[in-house]
Structure formats: structure tokens, C-alpha cells
């Protein structure tokens, strides 16, 4: 119920907690911010436009979409919208993907079937004939970490994640009361199986939320990010906040760049979010001068999300 998080600031005294051979210095990233007024129509075209703008190449690839599906509450906007996920399935197929699956290991609820059904994801995926993979229940393999922000040393990762040619992180744009924001990197908590890490992925909270974000990011290495900011969540996220219509989608070929721009669109300074800054040292591009922006100018689309009541250095359910 309560976890004593490891301080990222303390860990950052380490000069370079990653294996240099495993991570090339971040290069130029592409980010496209597109506007969308809702989820009802034309989303496939918008997603296709966004993916083309960042140069997404998935021809012949087996693609795994990793949305953010935590628990279901019809009064707010916790999860990546199923209609957007279905639109992404169609868009990746249009771009030549050999297969597109949707996988998630919900962090809070063990009953994945209930969340998938009541959120509308099951129906949306049936409509586009795409399979859902429960990452909490899938076969797992142990992977040695090449970054060392936590003391975990290795991760148990689901085979559908490891075997995918392309992993696409599809978070909801929302605040997070322990991590600041949930964007494409934090979303990767859901790739780790609850039957190994507990609920809500509690061992990761003990290993430190921010260090875990960095180590999981370094292990999963998503190829693309699509951030659902059409309706985001502000205030006491990731589950108890309020919906906010921000009307944007963020696409990137670099999860760090996606999160940097995504945080800016929420009215946050990404340089004040330690895990994004740190991820920019090895995992992706956080330097605005090296992020090529396409689509809309983010400056004109900023909505100030009400901040979360941050828990000081602790983590809990």
C-alpha cells in the first residue's frame, strides 16, 4: 500500500548509469502535433497523417500498440480512448504493417477482461478485427537491463513485447500524482506483468518510480509514441483527476521527444520533470533544438493542466 520510492536525484550522482554500448547518443527526433476536436470521425486519417509526418516505417513489421488502460471509470478519462486505438490499428495497416496487436497489462485492476470490456476497447478492436493481448498473463522472459537506475538488474518482460518488431507507446495525456505526468515513458509500466510485479506493479514503486521509468524505457525501447491528448486528465491523475479537452495528438519516433513536447502542451516545463531530463541523456532526445517539429505549432496549443497533489517521495496505490 505504501512504497518508499528511490530518489532519482540520489541516483543521478552516478555519472552514467547505463551501458554506453547499448545506447547510441540520441539523434534528431521528429515530433508532429496535430489537432483533433473529438474521437468520432476522421481519426484514422489524422493518425495516418501524424505517422507519415514523423516518417514512420512499419512495412512488414509486427506492431504492438501499447495503450494506457488502468481501470475504468465512466465519469473521467483515465484510459487511452479505444476509438483512437482502433484508428491506429487501421493506420498502421495502411502503412504496411504485417500485423497489429494491442497489448496492455493494466496496472491497477487484475480483472483485465472487465476493464477491456467496459472501457469499450473490446468492441473497438472487434470492429477492426485486431487481437488484444493481456500482458499481465502473457508468457515472460527475463531480460538483463542495460541501464541501472534501479537495483532490479533484470526485468521479466512479456514475450509479445519482446517479439514485436515495433512497439508503439500510446498513453493518455494526464497528470500523475507520484511521477508528475503520465506520457509515453511512464505508460511502459503496463508492459510489465502484474503477476510478477504485483498490483499496482508495486515492486516498481519500491524500486523507485522514476528510476523504473528509465530502466523500463531502456529495455522496451518503443519505436513510436502516439499521445492521446484529445481529452486528457488534469488534477489528481492518473485515476482520480478530471477530464480536460486539449484537442491534440502527439506523434513521435522518439518517446523522450514525445514526452518533452507532451509535457509542454500540458503547461509543464519538461526540464523540471527529472525522468524526462534524465532520459534525454541516453534514451532519446529532450533538447528542443534537436527535435524537428511538424504539424501544428505546439506553442499555440498549450492548455495548462491543473497540477496533481504530488506525493512527496512516496508511491502508493
Amino acid at each position: 500500500m505504501v512504497a518508499g520510492g528511490v530518489s532519482l536525484r540520489r541516483l543521478l550522482r552516478e555519472p552514467q548509469p547505463w551501458d554506453e554500448a547499448a545506447f547510441r547518443p540520441p539523434g534528431t527526433a521528429h515530433v508532429a502535433v496535430l489537432t483533433a476536436s473529438g474521437y468520432d470521425s476522421g481519426l484514422e486519417v489524422t493518425v495516418l497523417e501524424g505517422l507519415r509526418a514523423i516518417g514512420a516505417d512499419v512495412r512488414g513489421a509486427n506492431v504492438l500498440l501499447k495503450p494506457n488502460l488502468v481501470e475504468f471509470d465512466p465519469t473521467t478519462a483515465i484510459n487511452t480512448e479505444p476509438r483512437l486505438i482502433a484508428a491506429a490499428v487501421l493506420a498502421f495497416r495502411r502503412l504496411g504493417a504485417a500485423s497489429v496487436r494491442v497489448g496492455e497489462g493494466p496496472g491497477h485492476r487484475r480483472d483485465v477482461q472487465d476493464v477491456v470490456t467496459r472501457s469499450g476497447l473490446a468492441e473497438a478492436l472487434t470492429g477492426v478485427e485486431a487481437p488484444f493481448v493481456d500482458l499481465n498473463a502473457a508468457a515472460v522472459r527475463r531480460v538483463t537491463l542495460r541501464s541501472h537506475y534501479t537495483d532490479l538488474g533484470e526485468l521479466w518482460l512479456p514475450a509479445p513485447v519482446l517479439d514485436a518488431d515495433v512497439v508503439v507507446s500510446m498513453p493518455k495525456m494526464k497528470t500523475h500524482h507520484w511521477a508528475g505526468v503520465t506520457l509515453s515513458l511512464k505508460n511502459l509500466f503496463g508492459t510489465l506483468p502484474g503477476r510478477v510485479y504485483g498490483w499496482p506493479k508495486n515492486i516498481l514503486h519500491w524500486a523507485g518510480i522514476e528510476p523504473s521509468i528509465l530502466d523500463i524505457g531502456g529495455a522496451v525501447r518503443p519505436s513510436y509514441a502516439i499521445i492521446d491528448g484529445i481529452v486528457g486528465m488534469e488534477g489528481n491523475g492518473p485515476i482520480s483527476g478530471d477530464p480536460i479537452e486539449s484537442g491534440v495528438l502527439v506523434f513521435s519516433n522518439d518517446p523522450v521527444a514525445a514526452d518533452s513536447i507532451g509535457a509542454s502542451l500540458m503547461g509543464s516545463d519538461p526540464e523540471r520533470i527529472p525522468y524526462i531530463t534524465e532520459a534525454g541523456r541516453f534514451l532519446g532526445q529532450a533538447d528542443r533544438d534537436r527535435i524537428e517539429q511538424r504539424g501544428e505549432d505546439p506553442e499555440g496549443l498549450i492548455r495548462s493542466f491543473a497540477p496533481p497533489p504530488l506525493g512527496a517521495g512516496i508511491a502508493a496505490g
Binding site: 487484475r110 477482461q113 532490479l152 482520480s240 496505490g317
Partner: protein, 251 residues
């Protein structure tokens, strides 16, 4: 966890309880650790949360006693109450991983095993105290806490059912509130096989025949229609919920 994957302790233990399968029980006995636990190593952490179910499934004997000894000696880390997460510091409970803080489901599992296998254990009172402290504001249980950062956390069917199975006969008022909450929740969450199956087990062990009949009908329909997404744990809970003898007779 799913057909074709390597066996794991949690679904295997549930399968033993549901089907009384001797080969599954033998597998469990062979995979019990020296310390009596059923565990997964996760870096420096040890997820030992399957130990309670393992103890139940082993049946009477030395192996179960070792598992119960482990449970009694491996309670969660004691943590302080804070403004963000106010708790009863004196209630300890059980965690998902050794040396970390307590949660509802692992505490409920340990309580179930101790209530059946070692009813004189002094740790039973602690488990009941913890579940009483974590009870959601309007009854039932969230997976974790009652309140976080000023928000009352809602109860869920699966965690409420888990707590009720553990608590059987130990706190009638708490159980009554939980059952009332579960009677409302299971219909809301009836799209989920794990929620339905655990709710049915809870209704059966608590003698709520009307709710059990309705939940059984819904579960039959869901299993036929979806096979519960082939989730091994959910299917084992469903088998346990549907077994002819009441799950109350486990032990």
C-alpha cells in the same frame, strides 16, 4: 498462466483447490522453496504472494506447515501513516513482495490459509485489523488503501471478494458490509471473469444463495462466450467457483 506456458504456483494452487488434481499438487510440492514459500525472484525482490494459496492447496501435512510457518514469519514491512495515506500503523498484513508494504489481496490470501490451516495463529487478528482499516469508505475493498491524497478509493468486486473469502467468520459486521457492497458491485463488473468467479466463491462460502445463483448464471454465460480471455488464473477461479462442493470445505 495460459495454455502452453510453463506452470506457475498461483494458477496451479487454484487448480488443485478447484479440481483436487494430484499431479498439480505434486508439482506444487516440488516447487515449494526451502523456506516454505512459493516465490518468484524479481531482482533483489521476492514476490512470495502465492504462498497462501499454495499452503491451502498442499493440504494437511508437513509441507503446508512449512508454508504457514513462512507466512507467519514474513509479514509486510511496517510503514508509517502519512497525511497522503492515513493508515492504522499497528496493522501489518502481507505484501506482494517480501520486505515491502501490505496490500489487500495478499493479506486476504494469507488470512484464508491461516484461518483454514492454523486457526490459532496470532497473526490472524492482525490480518483482520488490516482489512478493517483498509475497508473503503462505503464498504468493500479497493486493492490498496482507503484514502490516498484525500480521495476515497472505490471498492472493486474482485478485491472485495478476496477479502471476504479470507475473513469468513472472523468479523461479522465487516463481512456483512462487504457482502452488501459485493452484491452491488458484481453486477457492475460482471463483464470480467475474474470478478465474477471470485464473487461467486465469496457468495458461496458466505451462504448468499440468491446472489450465488445469479452470479453463477452470469459466469456460465461469460465462460461460454469468452473463455475468460484464456486467463489461467480467472479460469481456475471459475472452476473453483463452480465446483460441486462448496469452496468453504477447502482445507
Amino acid at each position: 498462466m495460459r495454455r502452453g506456458q510453463p506452470s506457475e504456483a498461483e494458477p496451479t494452487a487454484l487448480a488443485v483447490l478447484a479440481l483436487d488434481d494430484a499431479r498439480a499438487r505434486t508439482w506444487l510440492a516440488e516447487h515449494q522453496r526451502e523456506d516454505g514459500s512459493f516465490s518468484i525472484d524479481v531482482g533483489p525482490y521476492v514476490n512470495d504472494s502465492a504462498t497462501g494459496l499454495g499452503a491451502l492447496a498442499l493440504g494437511s501435512g508437513a509441507e503446508r506447515e512449512r508454508a504457514l510457518d513462512y507466512l507467519e514469519s514474513s509479514r509486510a514491512l511496517r510503514v508509517e501513516s502519512t497525511a497522503a495515506i492515513p493508515i492504522d500503523e499497528s496493522a501489518i498484513g502481507w505484501a506482494w513482495a517480501r520486505g515491502t508494504a501490505s496490500w489487500v489481496e495478499p493479506t486476504a490470501r494469507a488470512l484464508w490459509a491461516l484461518r483454514v490451516g492454523r486457526p490459532s495463529s496470532a497473526t490472524i487478528k492482525d490480518a483482520v485489523d488490516l482489512l478493517r482499516d483498509r475497508e473503503s469508505v462505503d464498504g468493500g475493498w479497493n486493492y490498496g488503501n482507503r484514502v490516498v491524497l484525500g480521495e476515497d478509493l472505490p471498492p472493486f468486486a474482485q478485491t472485495t471478494a478476496a477479502a471476504l473469502i479470507g475473513l469468513l467468520g472472523l468479523d461479522p459486521d465487516l463481512e456483512s458490509r462487504g457482502l452488501d457492497t459485493l452484491s452491488r458491485l458484481w453486477r457492475v463488473e460482471s463483464a470480467g471473469g475474474l470478478s465474477l468467479a471470485t464473487a461467486l466463491v465469496a457468495f458461496r462460502v458466505h451462504g448468499r444463495a440468491n446472489e450465488a445463483r445469479a452470479a453463477r448464471t452470469a459466469l456460465d454465460r461469460l465462460v461460454d462466450g469468452t473463455r475468460l480471455l484464456d486467463d489461467g488464473v480467472a479460469l481456475c477461479w471459475a472452476a473453483l467457483a463452480m465446483r460441486p462442493r462448496s469452496p468453504e470445505t477447502i482445507g
